[in-house]
């Protein structure tokens, strides 16, 4: 085994999986696990206190995304918000049509509900993306049919950080609706990965539904949000009480919602400054890898305007991603891979395949997603070991001898 340093530095490069809850967020949440435990639906003062906190959080979130408080539905996760947006629209508007438009590189929280709807007789069109994972607004609009009820396209990609032209699609869609004198199709975007780095103004994006969750914005896990434009009817997926405008029954997660609002407030406040800092760091990471390790390639768009500033996805040719990940973990570095060996289906990442990456390149991919606690020292620490790790694994790998004619064939 390669020599290990005396002191292992913990380097977390998996912020697209989840982020650590910010201390300020935890502080904001704490009272709601203590004295202010009331049920917001109760009329006495303890209930009213909780109700006030809830209203306040709703107001903060609404302002941040340029919406009204009554447009905000709090849920239990990003996945739940996606499910509510998709099933909610599909079931409430199926008499209008049963056609939905999406892309193949969506998160599973979007793809799997769509797959379920397909079984129920809905038709889904997956608009193609280019080799950087970008969809064109024109292609999306031309996929619309008279029976299309929903378009769902993510704001930024989970694995390769591609930023989709949401505002452009939104604008084109407005024109389409005007020209065809219709309110359909509705437009949903999953903004979970984008929330920390991009503008969430729903009026600029022209979206009707938008998903954000807490665990990617230094907020708590177990809280999500769905923005629902006024006048859009959704069929609830949880029935019971009248909470969240009857769209999501269940006593509100007051502490979580307060934390979510705080988290979103903080990341949106520091957005521009932090985006610039992280983009520099990402560029540095890629530059170092590219300089010190041969046969590597960046998956997704070039680091810059069209990519999430915190995402770096690299294929190390002739090495398998899980083996790399295990090695890095021994040195304290945490990241993720698109290799099949870490997936349920034994198939490599659906995103990397959708952008046309050969299987062997998908197997050798690592995703580094940076966050606010990362510094240049983290990158430098990792780069002390990564070149040697790749070298060791390449030595074990037979792939690089692919073109060599072996004595076997000379019999």
């Amino acid at each position: 085994m390669l020599p290990k340093p005396k002191k292992i530095r913990e380097v977390y490069f998996d912020h697209a999986a989840t982020t650590a809850t910010d201390k300020t967020v935890v502080k904001a949440m704490t009272p709601y696990y203590g004295d202010i435990f009331g049920n917001p639906s109760s009329l006495y003062h303890k209930g009213r206190e909780a109700q006030t906190a809830l209203n306040n959080a709703r107001k903060i979130v609404a302002e941040l995304i340029h919406a009204m408080p009554e447009n905000i539905v709090f849920t239990g996760s990003g996945s739940e918000s996606d499910n509510l947006a998709i099933f909610g629209t599909a079931y409430a508007h199926s008499q209008v049509g049963k056609h939905i438009i999406s892309v193949a590189i969506e998160h599973h929280a979007v793809l799997y509900p769509l797959r379920e709807l397909e079984k129920e007789g809905f038709e889904i069109t997956y608009v193609k993306v280019d080799k950087e994972g970008r969809v064109s607004a024109k292609d999306v609009i031309s996929a619309i049919r008279p029976d299309t009820i929903l378009i769902t396209i993510m704001y930024a990609n989970t694995e390769i950080g591609t930023i989709e032209p949401i505002a452009e699609i939104g604008r084109e869609l407005l024109r389409y609706r005007r020209e065809h004198n219709t309110t359909y199709p509705y437009f949903h975007t999953d903004a979970c990965q984008a929330a920390g780095y991009l503008d969430l103004d729903v009026e600029k994006l022209h979206v009707d539904l938008m998903t954000v969750n807490g665990s990617k914005i230094y907020g708590p896990k177990g809280v999500g949000m769905l923005y629902v434009r006024r006048g859009i009817k959704l069929k609830p997926i949880v029935y019971g009480g009248a909470q969240e405008k009857k769209l999501r029954a269940g006593t509100e997660n007051v502490a979580g919602i307060v934390g979510f609002a705080k988290g979103l407030e903080l990341v949106q406040k520091n957005r521009d400054k932090e985006s610039q800092r992280i983009a520099k760091l990402s560029a540095y990471l890629w530059q170092e890898v590219n300089k010190k390790i041969n046969n590597v390639r960046l998956n997704g768009p070039a680091i810059g305007e069209s990519r999430l500033p915190n995402n770096v996805n690299i294929t190390f040719e002739n090495v398998e991603g899980e083996a790399l990940l295990l090695y890095l973990d021994e040195y304290g570095v945490m990241c993720s891979t698109g290799s099949a060996c870490t997936s349920e289906s034994l198939e490599p990442s659906h995103v990397l395949r959708a952008i046309g990456l050969p299987y062997e390149f998908a197997h050798g991919s690592l995703r580094f997603t940076l966050g606010k606690e990362n510094t240049k020292e983290d990158v430098d620490y990792m780069m002390k070991f990564l070149p040697d790790i790749v070298k060791v694994l390449r030595e074990i790998s037979p792939v690089n001898m692919g073109s060599q004619q072996h004595p076997k064939y000379k019999n």
């Binding site: 083996a323 060996c341 870490t342 074990i396 001898m401």
Partner: protein, 241 residues
């Protein structure tokens, strides 16, 4: 970080070679690796870790030209996620494997399986090739101290490479009658799916007809072959699990 997972998928019990679904993983274990979608976890044993980080008998750069061998096998491909090359040095008099080298492209468990296999076939003056041909994935698993259910397929390539290398030895020594041809029987003639494919699917974790069909689509268009598919699934399940 506090970790206290229960492995839903279970571990292999080494004595009985049966799945022990009650295995609990000790708290704060350093050696946890979980699938990224989080629906199932796995854990590598210390032995797997040891062989992964300190692989034995692999062919180092520059050693290819020096290492004397008379059996060579190459199986898998990087596109399917695993590839393995094996070089064997077989003593023609005793028919024992005196030495071997390997290279593997694959995940942690694939690398560890190959490493452990290379030790097994070299142990005690070398394994006789007749015995080596009988080596099964379970034997490698047992030596490794088990692999999580879903990673079992990563150890399958080892015995295939071994068979390929020994066949190569038979070819080189003109013992053509001893070459073992993998008899694959076509089950679904439309899709050219063989019993070997079904075996692989079962090793990959498929347990029911539906599971196998998810992977292979076998018999979807041919209901009349379903009984024979089900019989094969039962056979391989009993063989391996």
């Amino acid at each position: 970080m506090d970790i206290d997972w229960k492995l839903e998928i279970g571990h292999w019990d080494l004595k009985t070679m049966k799945k022990n679904t009650k295995t609990k993983i000790k708290k704060n274990s350093k050696y946890d690796v979980r699938s990224k979608d989080g629906t199932s976890g796995w854990l590598y044993t210390e032995k797997v870790k040891d062989h992964f980080f300190n692989p034995r008998n692999f062919m180092r750069f520059g050693e290819e030209k020096k290492f004397k061998f008379n059996g060579y096998g190459r199986v898998g491909s990087p596109a399917c996620g695993d590839e393995m090359v094996l070089w064997l040095q077989i003593d023609p008099k005793t028919e024992k494997i005196k030495d071997c080298r390997w290279r593997t492209f694959g995940c942690g468990s694939a690398i560890a399986s190959t490493s452990v296999m290379s030790e097994m076939i070299k142990k005690k003056g070398g394994m006789k090739i007749d015995n080596a041909l009988k080596l099964k994935p379970q034997d490698i698993l047992k030596e490794l101290g088990g692999l999580p259910d879903r990673k079992v397929h990563c150890s399958v390539l080892g015995d295939k490479a071994l068979q390929a290398a020994i066949n190569d030895y038979f070819r080189k020594t003109k013992q053509h009658n001893r070459i073992m041809v993998e008899g694959a029987k076509i089950i679904d003639s439309d899709l050219k799916i063989t019993d070997k494919d079904i075996e692989e699917a079962v090793l990959d974790g498929a347990r029911t007809l539906e599971d196998v069909q998810k992977k292979l689509k076998v018999g979807v268009s041919k209901p009349d072959i379903i009984p024979s598919i089900e019989e094969l699934i039962r056979f391989y399940r009993e063989k391996y699990f």
